[in-house]
């Protein structure tokens, strides 16, 4: 009887355990990271009595969580990538919006600016039209700055979110360290098996970190878990957690580096390349591959526009007859640190070769390397006498860079932010060309000069800007129907001086250069007359009071549709107009945004699938728990009945004895 009572009691206890666990499952059905728990049970050791084994009831051996490591890993991997795409998308889609907006995009401002230039070209004496050109140029500059500022603000947002992500990582790391400690204790007291609920909590902390950055974890024999970021940078070791932060040191892109601080206070920088995946990986990637290229592209556009425009503007003269000044102001290439003695300047004649890349320039015992920071490759720099040229950039003062030292070169990164308009007086717009050609009425032949075009104004301006050029005449000699051009004193013909009307009659271009350096080309057509007493002449004079001359304005206007950018190879011809280059930037950011959004959707679906697979093992089903409640309530009642029977048998026995 006592054994029946005991058997009933074990059943009652087991049912109680089941009911408790069911209740626990129901209570935690919505708890993040909770895995449903099961009671494990076995029969108790039998008793040998009277030649047979009799059962002695049941025993509860433990409570285990439904946990499948493979399914858990799948969820973690998918969620890590989803978080990475989500962070990337959150910021790149903002840039995407900014670039295309009709109110903030570059195309409308470019069109207005060049439209105003066309008006100046059509009516060069109209002061209002010239003023409109200056106003639209200010609008254009403001648009460049606004775009740059917006991208900077979005980058600041990235930085803020990085700090927030690090705070969360640090919090979760501390939680893991503490849970490690408690799990070690619970494993000892639990006979080698730790509490499912503590394990759930630690796994949930890992899942939270995993959303922020990709981590790997290694279980230790004592039950604790070591967590590593990237390729082996420890974040949690046993009960010690390290802290991530943004330090003061700058990396090669000029940004503050991430630091890992140990409990003893020592800090070491973490290379950006080690961190990937998760929110933090996505933020670093969008800053590296989204914001910075966009900002550099804008800077490249600003540099190309301003340099090409200034170059052509300098070849003209303004309403006062003075050579054109710079129209736009540019901040120029930046060298960090600025005290290195190295200077870098954009070559106005090679704007098309500019790439918009940032570089690290290094001197190793006279061996110079110029590394493109984005690709990490040495582009090869031929240095002579401390000077070198590469991709539209002129380097000088290289010999002041000590061996083992390096500088960072940012050629266009800050150009959009620092772009300005130099001219505020409408009379200073150089719409005219400095030289006019004329054919004296005394000429007997039909020779005509058209399309006169300055290629250099070197040595042509006096200190006050007015023209330092005298009139000169070009004569001819003839031999057998072929004419030789005879330049006036102080001038030489560059690249050919013969003219054969029979074959060149439609027009041949010649280049005339003054000893001071200034040079212009012109197209000669018709047939000059040469006789015994002399020849026809063509007079070239400084353009004086030529206020209605629009030749330089027309050439400036042509810059809208001229290909100025993205030269094919070193020194190759340009392949894109300014607007093409902007459209390319918009398409690039748009495509990237699209790709990231697709990635986020795909990974989101994968997370859903993996989570469903995991939850089908580990999740709580309330219907199932309800059924269990009924089931274990009944088994509890049955076990109670067994005990009641034992009680009654005992009463019967007492009654017999009475």
């Amino acid at each position: 009887m006592s054994s029946l009572l005991n058997i009933g009691l074990t059943g009652l206890n087991a049912s109680q355990a089941y009911l408790n666990t069911t209740g626990h499952n129901i209570a935690n059905a919505a708890t993040p990271g909770f895995h449903r728990q099961n009671v494990t049970q076995e029969t108790r050791d039998p008793q040998f009595l009277g030649g047979a084994f009799f059962g002695t009831g049941t025993a509860v051996t433990g409570v285990r969580r439904a946990y499948n490591e493979l399914l858990e890993t799948q969820v973690l991997n998918a969620d890590n990538r989803r978080a990475e795409y989500a962070a990337y998308n959150r910021f790149i889609s903002q840039v995407d919006n900014v670039l295309a907006d009709a109110d903030t995009g570059l195309t409308p401002a470019l069109n207005e600016f060049f439209g105003a230039l066309q008006s100046v070209s059509s009516n060069p004496t109209n002061i209002a039209g010239r003023q409109a050109l200056i106003s639209t140029s200010e609008t254009l500059v403001a648009r460049f700055r606004t775009l740059d500022t917006r991208i900077s603000e979005i980058s600041d947002g990235v930085q803020t979110d990085m700090s927030a992500a690090m705070v969360s990582i640090n919090g979760q790391a501390a939680a893991i360290a503490e849970l490690n400690q408690r799990i070690v204790v619970s494993q000892v007291s639990g006979g080698g098996r730790a509490s499912s609920d503590l394990l759930d909590q630690r796994d949930q902390a890992i899942a939270e970190i995993n959303k922020l950055v990709r981590v790997s974890s290694v279980p230790q024999r004592d039950g604790s878990l070591s967590v590593f970021i990237g390729s082996g940078q420890a974040l949690v070791l046993g009960s010690e957690a390290k802290q991530l932060s943004i330090g003061d040191r700058l990396d090669e892109r000029g940004r503050p580096m991430m630091m890992v601080t140990s409990a003893n206070g020592t800090s070491v920088p973490v290379a950006e390349s080690l961190i990937n995946g998760g929110e933090l990986g996505g933020l670093l990637a969008v800053r590296r591959d989204g914001m910075e290229p966009a900002q550099r592209s804008l800077g490249l556009l600003a540099t190309s526009l301003a340099t090409a425009f200034n170059r052509q503007h300098a070849l003209g003269i303004d309403l006062e007859g003075a050579l054109g000044q710079g129209f736009f102001t540019l901040g120029g290439a930046k060298v960090v640190p600025p005290t290195s003695g190295v200077t870098v300047a954009v070559d106005p004649e090679a704007v098309a070769s500019l790439t918009g890349s940032d570089y690290e320039l290094r001197n190793d015992a006279g061996q110079y390397t110029l590394v493109d920071i984005a690709s990490g490759k040495d582009v090869g720099l031929a240095v002579t006498g401390g000077q070198a040229s590469y991709a539209g950039l002129d380097f000088s003062g290289l010999d002041s860079l000590g061996s083992g030292q390096s500088v960072f070169v940012y050629p266009t990164r800050y150009a959009a932010a620092e772009l300005g308009v130099a001219i505020d007086d409408p009379r200073r717009v150089a719409a005219a060309a400095p030289v006019v050609a004329s054919m004296p009425a005394t000429n007997a032949g039909t020779a005509r000069v058209t399309e006169l075009r300055m290629t250099s104004v070197q040595g042509m301006g006096k200190p006050d800007g007015s023209l330092d050029m005298g009139a000169t005449s070009l004569g001819f000699t003839e031999a057998g129907g072929v004419f030789t051009l005879v330049p006036g004193t102080g001038y030489t013909l560059v690249g050919g001086a013969t003219y054969a009307p029979a074959t060149d009659g439609a027009g041949k271009t010649f280049t005339l250069q003054n000893t001071a350096g200034f040079t212009f080309e012109f197209k000669l057509s018709g047939t000059p007359a040469v006789n015994a007493t002399g020849s026809d002449v063509i007079d070239f004079k400084p353009n004086s009071e030529g206020v209605a001359d629009n030749r330089n304005a027309a050439l400036l206007g042509a810059l809208q549709t001229d290909k100025l950018m993205f030269g094919a190879g070193s020194g190759g011809s340009a392949t894109a107009t300014l607007n093409n280059a902007y459209a390319q930037l918009v398409a690039k950011v748009g495509s990237k945004t699209r790709e990231v959004q697709a990635g986020e959707r795909t990974q989101g679906a994968l997370v859903a699938q993996a989570t469903a697979a995991r939850d089908s093992v580990s999740g709580v089903n309330l219907d199932e728990e309800a059924a269990n409640l009924v089931r274990f309530q009944q088994s509890y009642q049955a076990a109670g009945r067994v005990m009641a029977v034992a009680q009654r048998l005992f009463d019967e026995m007492l009654a017999i004895a009475r």
Partner: protein, 304 residues
């Protein structure tokens, strides 16, 4: 497969969110009338739209310039008509002066008339446009190009040319810079055989009354040459005006084409969008119903 209660809720919520997002996107498209809301919706079309926008803007500028060019050419044409009439009239007066029966006073009165024609011609040569620019001054448009002067004999009237040989142009198409001004010497001739010299010399001859018949011959020859120059320039302007008109037609054709290309790239097909909206609404409502029905089921409803 074993199903957990969370899975039922998660899946339901996810379905609702997907459908809502699609509905919102279509709603935005309908509200803005654009099928591309951000470049990421169609990066290639967005980039192309920017290029087409610039082409369209450049084309519009050319159409504006064609208008400027047309105005400028019309103005020059009108002045040349005036110059042509003066030369014709002067020619008649020269012929009349050649009549041997005329008295010296008759000749002097013709000379006075011709002096008036000389001044009228000078006024035309120094015409200004609406900007205040002198039409026949080349690039030096600020100052009057022709200045009344005297010949070496200190008697005969002359006009000195102070302008230059510059030709103002306007860009009326991507490759055409159209001349819209003509240097004074092209229209009125240079110092040796210009219309002013012809008139000036003839007036002197009439006033002095010597060798009139020889002077008549010289003057007629000179005036014919002058008329030729005016007519040649006039013909050039006529053909340029035809060209501008044709360019204008091409320009407005292009404008239409660009507008239609931009519309194809960016604009929404409302029929398609509204039918899509209806479809998405149906899907969302179905998802809502299905969510309510599924989550409403629980064994606990039957336990008491």
């Amino acid at each position: 497969m074993r199903v957990s209660t969370n899975m039922i809720y998660d899946q339901g919520v996810r379905a609702l969110q997907t459908q809502s997002a699609a509905l919102l996107h279509t709603g935005q498209q309908i509200a803005t009338g654009r099928k591309i809301l951000t470049p990421s919706d169609d990066p290639v079309a967005s980039a192309r739209a920017l290029d087409v926008t610039q082409s369209s803007s450049v084309n519009k500028q050319f159409i504006t310039n064609q208008g400027y060019a047309e105005d400028a050419l019309k103005l020059v044409e009108g002045q040349l008509d005036g110059a042509g009439e003066i030369i014709q009239y002067a020619r008649e007066r020269v012929l009349a002066a050649g009549n041997p029966a005329l008295s010296p006073s008759d000749r002097r009165s013709i000379a006075t008339d011709l002096r008036g024609q000389f001044d009228a011609m000078l006024a035309i040569a120094n015409t200004r446009d609406a900007n205040g620019d002198h039409l026949f001054a080349g690039y030096k448009s600020n100052d009057p190009p022709f200045r009344a002067a005297l010949a070496a004999d200190a008697v005969s009237a002359r006009a000195e040319y102070d302008g230059d040989q510059g030709t103002r142009t306007m860009q009326v198409s991507s490759s055409r810079f159209m001349p819209v001004s003509f240097g004074g010497e092209t229209v009125f001739g240079s110092k040796d055989d210009g219309v002013f010299e012809v008139l000036g010399d003839f007036i002197t001859a009439l006033e002095q009354g010597t060798n009139v018949s020889a002077a008549v011959g010289t003057a007629l020859e000179g005036l014919d040459k002058s008329l030729d120059r005016v007519i040649t320039t006039r013909a050039q302007i006529g053909s340029q005006r035809v060209e501008v008109e044709q360019l204008g037609l091409i320009g407005s054709d292009l404008d239409l084409q660009y507008a239609s290309t931009l519309s194809d790239l960016q604009d929404l097909d409302y029929n398609e969008a509204i039918s899509r909206l209806t479809q998405q609404r149906t899907f969302l409502e179905a998802a809502q119903q299905s969510f309510l029905k599924t989550t409403g089921l629980s064994l606990f409803n039957y336990l008491n």
